[in-house]
């Protein structure tokens, strides 16, 4: 893999007109102990169809709140969120939120979980779809297993497959690999990229891991804390698969480290 700068990928947004998702001057304030707490401050963001965007920031910067608002679980105090030109009024099966592996239903088998959103399909069609996504996430042979019999990484695969099975346009992932060990986390990133390249969903991925963001995203949205603001949006102009020891990768990563205000040496 060449280590020099690579031209912008086609799915890097250039024209705002083609935006799939638009966050317009969104503010969010919570009342805590009678005090107004500003969690999101004037957030503007556009995401193109098929784009992979990472929202990066320290814990408590409001990145999960922002994702929950975009997914329709929370209503912003002010501002607008539109998807395909339509205001978001609540959660919708066209865009699925993937929690950490804790979101898998422990009372259902792997196949039951993946087929959860497919109740409206005919039985044969449902079985076929479930099987396809079991294969896609590499869980063949575990169809009848229950989540408590699986490892953390396998549970996370189940949840991603459950989301993909309903064929959504957008996936929201909230620190999906945060609870996994570092080796499994690396494997899962590769898997997610493979799936994203196959299915071309729009992905919004919240993380506090700088390397994870730079490895995965077309663009990294860097947020700062209290109040949560977008500090900078960094395009990652490296084609996949990315060489994570290339000078340009390191340059981008260190740029973000500087942006967050962290020194290079511990």
């Amino acid at each position: 893999m060449a280590t020099t700068k690579v031209a912008l990928e086609p799915n890097t947004p250039t024209a705002a007109l083609s935006a799939k998702l638009r966050v317009n001057k969104v503010n969010m304030t919570f009342n805590r102990d009678g005090q107004r707490l500003s969690v999101l401050d004037n957030i503007d963001l556009e995401v193109a169809d098929g784009e992979f965007v990472c929202i990066l920031g320290p814990s408590g910067c409001g990145k999960s709140t922002l994702l929950s608002a975009i997914a329709g679980f929370l209503t912003p105090t002010s501002g607008q969120i539109t998807i395909d030109g339509e205001a978001v009024r609540g959660p919708d099966p066209r865009r699925i939120f993937v929690f950490q592996e804790r979101g898998v239903f422990p009372w259902l088998t792997v196949a039951g979980n993946i087929g959860f959103g497919l109740a409206k399909l005919k039985r044969a069609e449902r079985t076929e779809r479930v099987q396809r996504y079991i294969q896609m996430v590499g869980l063949e042979g575990f169809e009848k297993s229950y989540p408590h019999e699986l490892s953390g990484g396998m549970k996370q695969r189940v949840e991603v497959a459950r989301a993909l099975a309903v064929n959504p346009d957008i996936l929201f992932l909230d620190e999906p690999f945060g609870a996994l060990d570092s080796i499994t986390r690396m494997v899962m990133r590769g898997e997610l990229l493979r799936i994203w390249e196959a299915e071309r969903k729009t992905i919004l991925f919240v993380t506090h891991d700088i390397d994870e963001a730079v490895q995965l995203a077309d663009r990294v949205v860097v947020m700062s804390a209290r109040p949560g603001r977008i500090q900078q949006i960094v395009p990652i102009d490296i084609a996949h698969p990315r060489d994570i020891s290339s000078p340009h990768y390191l340059e981008l990563r260190d740029g973000i480290l500087n942006q967050i205000g962290l020194a290079h040496h511990l």
Binding site: A71, I96, F99, F105, L108, G117
Partner: protein, 260 residues
């Protein structure tokens, strides 16, 4: 042996047997040493027991008691679980109903006996009603709490996949709460078994409770009283053991501590 050590297989059976033998020996010598004329020795209880079995009364009494518990318990389950889920799901309803539940709950079913007899007369229904009361409140109260304990992310996932509120209740909230509900059913069954004995002493003329009170009143047959008591304990243990098997089935297994 440390508290964490896994007991060996023979130990699991041997120690209960040793404990039982020691208990019977203590009982036997206590009766002997105090020279009591009233309290029976283990051997006398055993003889009384055999006599009851031969007359065929015991069998009928046991079945009557179990039948009353079964009907009262299943009525409490059939009514308690849906109501508990509903109250838990709609906090507004719960706010209205909860004060009433909290006042009725601490009233011992025994205190209801006179009222039960007014409602149903002396007979089966009064005893069944008492079992129902004893089982109903723990089920409702636990269901309300269990619904509240269902993690927000499960409910959000249900909404995200476009489920209607009724579907979220049946496909997400109920299965998520089921392990806790099962524990409450086990407690409720135990209470039902306690209550039926008390109810049978007053409201009916059959069952193990009646056997105890009847044995005492007609000739102070304390050998039969103690025999019936032991039988009540053994049946209670069997019911509880059978019920615990439900905790092993896979869709609820996750909610219970693993033993390995």
């Amino acid at each position: 042996m440390s508290a964490l050590a896994e007991p060996r297989k023979w130990e699991r059976y041997a120690w209960p047997v040793v404990a039982t033998v020691l208990f019977l020996a203590f009982w036997h010598y206590a009766v002997l040493l105090t020279a009591t004329k009233i309290f029976p020795s283990p051997a006398e209880v055993e003889r009384g027991f055999v006599e009851l079995m031969r007359e065929g009364v015991l069998y009928r009494d046991v079945l009557d008691s179990i039948r009353r518990v079964a009907i009262g318990f299943f009525a409490a389950v059939a009514l308690g679980i849906p109501l508990g889920l509903l109250f838990g799901w709609y906090p507004a309803i719960n706010q209205v109903v909860n004060p009433v539940v909290q006042v009725l709950r601490p009233i011992s079913p025994i205190a209801w006996i006179p009222v039960a007899i007014i409602f149903f007369g002396v007979g089966d229904y009064a005893a069944i009603f008492l079992v129902f009361l004893g089982a109903f409140f723990p089920i409702v109260v636990t269901c309300v709490a269990a619904v509240g304990d269902v993690p927000l992310i499960y409910r959000r996932a249900g909404r995200n996949f476009g489920l209607t509120p009724a579907r979220i209740l049946s496909r997400v909230v109920f299965p998520a709460a089921l392990p806790q509900i099962l524990v409450s059913l086990r407690v409720a069954l135990g209470i039902g078994w306690l209550v039926v004995v008390a109810g049978e002493m007053i409201a009916v003329t059959s069952g193990l409770g009646f056997l105890i009170i009847d044995s005492r009143n007609s000739g102070k047959r304390y050998d039969l009283v103690v025999g019936a008591m032991i039988l009540i304990g053994v049946i209670g243990l069997v019911l509880d053991t059978l019920f615990r098997r439900l905790e092993k089935i896979k869709p609820v297994r996750w909610g219970f501590r693993d033993e390995f």
